[in-house]
């Protein structure tokens, strides 16, 4: 009986074969096929939506591609939007790595923008441009970190649900922004805050476009985040807590410390987005800006990048292209610019549904 042939490995189906075909580190043909399926499904849903609203797919698709990447000026606009999304993407990615859900990047960005304007208007006029930009960028990162610390500390001390608290901080920050627009620093008739002085604006670095120092700053932020996450003890602790808080605690790591530090770091990156928006893109805080949802879209950017700081860069460019493309879509078909957000959300939900973005969970133990 024992001398029989050993049990044969199970016959490989097509799916199994595709699963085992590895393209690059950890990426299999099967996962690539699922990404393509998600992309195709998103485009089909988009086409149906356009039919509903009475436009055709070809025109809309060309409008998006053209206004996002059609010429160097448009590419510049996409890159500047991408620099915002890189920063808000990092704001989500770092706490998410520790399975801490900082979904308040929107508010941390707003508070950063709010403080940037307030401080820029009070800085001495004669200050060298480089110095004033440096002061403001650091100040807005500190402001964002403070805003992020509130949910972080509440999580660490009383185990408050950070989703609720960080969202509430967002609504408070948006209201502060509204107050700045119509009460604290109003700009006459136009519906925005006063413009910041010209010596605080980030210098242009690509003539013929509106690309400023904001872009390299965001890239530097991504590299710093990568270095912290993969080359330092802190990054190791963050990842360890994310994988299993119990084990991390038993190995002498402080889960509370990780909660506070990741929220402060995330908030600082979101604050950077706020200062890039004010000093590098717009010069003032306009009403109606919340419609862009850059802070929330950062979550999508981070998820598509699988929370890896360097992958956030291409992911942000993709979503920025969609966002800028939506402007062109509005011009040519009259659709609201929020149509881009539908695409982003559908795409990420499909990636989640196809298990391309996954998180690990401990089994619920009996108490």
């Amino acid at each position: 009986v024992t001398a029989g042939s050993p049990a044969l490995p199970p016959r490989h189906g097509l799916e199994e074969r595709l699963r085992s075909l590895t393209v690059a580190r950890g990426i299999t043909v099967w996962s690539l096929l699922r990404v393509l399926a998600a992309l195709a499904a998103t485009l089909i849903i988009f086409a149906i939506l356009l039919q509903l609203l009475g436009s055709d797919f070809g025109t809309a698709f060309n409008a998006v591609i053209d206004s996002a990447f059609g010429n160097s000026f448009n590419i510049g606009q996409t890159l500047m939007t991408a620099s915002l999304l890189i920063a808000t993407g990092l704001a989500a990615a770092i706490p998410f790595r520790a399975q801490l859900w900082n979904v308040g990047g929107e508010g941390q960005m707003w508070f950063g923008a709010f403080c940037t304007i307030g401080i820029a208007l009070t800085l001495p006029k004669g200050l060298a441009p480089g110095l004033s930009v440096a002061i403001l960028v650091i100040a807005s990162m500190v402001a964002g970190a403070v805003w992020g610390l509130v949910p972080g500390i509440l999580k660490a001390t009383i185990n408050a649900n950070e989703v609720i608290t960080s969202l509430m901080m967002t609504f408070i920050a948006i209201e502060l922004g509204n107050w700045a627009i119509d009460g604290i620093w109003p700009q006459g008739a136009s519906n925005e805050t006063m413009s910041v002085p010209s010596n605080t604006l980030m210098p242009n670095i690509w003539s013929g476009t509106l690309v400023t120092w904001g872009l390299p700053l965001a890239l530097i932020a991504a590299i710093v985040a990568w270095a912290v996450m993969s080359r330092t003890k802190l990054g190791f602790e963050i990842r360890a807590v994310g994988l299993n808080p119990q084990t991390a605690r038993m190995n002498g790591m402080s889960v509370s410390k990780v909660a506070i530090v990741t929220f402060a770091l995330g908030g600082a990156f979101a604050g950077l987005a706020g200062s890039i928006f004010i000093l590098g893109i717009n010069g003032a805080l306009p009403a109606g800006f919340p419609l862009n949802n850059f802070g929330y879209l950062g979550i999508a950017v981070a998820l598509v990048a699988r929370l890896s700081p360097l992958w956030i860069i291409p992911s942000a460019v993709l979503f920025a292209g969609l966002r800028v493309g939506s402007d062109g879509l509005q011009a040519s078909t009259g659709l609201s610019t929020t149509v881009g957000q539908i695409l982003v959300a559908v795409f990420v939900i499909l990636l989640l549904a196809f298990r391309l973005i996954r998180f690990s969970y401990p089994e619920v133990a009996s108490r």
Binding site: A160, V163, T165, E175, G334, A345, Y361
Partner: protein, 306 residues
């Protein structure tokens, strides 16, 4: 009515959308699912009610019906994601909110007339309505206000006194044990998510009815406040009413402050932000409140085809 009476009367009206959403969330969380997409469901409910009113000759009942239908659709989609596919509930919920915001804002341009609004009819309860002092405040509201209280009682009964409540408690605390005892964890969660989303969408319909027309991003965090209400109320439907009333009155303050004298000098933006600040205070206050153990964690049956 005196300013204080007006404040409470308005507070009760503003309580209702959050109350419906919180009751829906309570049912869902009691089955072990955290629906962060509550804000989006509410927004879609409000939008659907607006569309229903628009195409139903201004009848709010058509709006309510369409809102309930949208709640069922949202519930099916979210149940598939949260339960069947086991996606992460927090990020799925946030993405669903972005989807709802984008979808309603884009579609509203074509399918909703900004000025079109419609209210639920008021009902003065005979006898009680004429009680001096509180009659005008409590018993002269629109019909959905009374309905919300009745539904709160029903939700309390459902979660505390029926087999459904007992089983869902098991499923939300220790689904593996519930499964061994022969319960179908997924089926129970499907029902809870769909039921909860219907209630949330009805809250959205009342939100639309309370104000004059549909605006982009209309819910403004009311769904998220409902998440906090459930925690503050410790998953007790009657406490949910009290907590929702607190936030309803806090929201009403921004409209009534100028008549209340002592609040006249407070900047309106502070009053608008007050409910959100209050949530943070409430979260600290409710620090002993503990989510059911399995909330937020996808469940995979032991014997499953996938």
């Amino acid at each position: 009515m005196s300013p204080v009476q007006t404040l409470f009367s308005l507070g009760i009206a503003l309580m209702v959308p959050m109350l419906f959403a919180a009751l829906g969330e309570l049912i869902i969380e009691k089955a072990g699912v955290l629906n962060v997409g509550i804000e989006g469901v509410m927004l879609i409910g409000a939008f659907s009610a607006a569309v229903g009113v628009n195409y139903g000759n201004g009848s709010i009942w058509v709006g309510l019906l369409i809102a309930i239908g949208s709640g069922i659709v949202c519930g099916i989609i979210l149940a598939l994601l949260y339960v069947r596919l086991g996606t992460d509930q927090i990020v799925t919920g946030i993405m669903f909110n972005i989807l709802a915001f984008g979808l309603t804002t884009t579609l509203a341009v074509k399918y909703v007339h900004a000025s079109q609004s419609s209210q639920f009819p008021d009902w003065n309860i005979p006898g009680l309505h004429s009680i001096p002092g509180i009659g005008d405040v409590l018993f002269s509201q629109d019909v959905l206000v009374y309905a919300s209280i009745v539904i709160a009682a029903l939700v309390w009964y459902l979660t505390r006194q029926t087999w459904f409540g007992l089983y869902s408690r098991a499923v939300s605390e220790y689904p593996r044990a519930a499964e061994s005892a022969g319960l179908n964890v997924w089926r129970l969660r499907y029902v809870a998510v769909i039921l909860g989303c219907v209630l949330t969408a009805v809250g959205g319909a009342e939100l639309f009815a309370n104000s004059g027309g549909f605006v982009a991003g209309y819910t403004n965090g009311r769904g998220f406040i409902a998440l906090a209400i459930v925690v503050l109320a410790r998953w007790n439907a009657f406490y949910v009413v009290a907590a929702a009333l607190l936030f309803g009155v806090a929201q009403a303050l921004q409209f009534e402050a100028d008549k209340l004298g002592f609040l006249g000098d407070v900047p309106s933006h502070v009053l608008i932000a007050l409910p959100y600040i209050l949530v943070l205070v409430a979260v600290v206050f409710a620090r002993g409140s503990r989510y059911p153990a399995a909330v937020g964690i996808p469940f995979r049956p032991t014997r499953s085809s996938t």
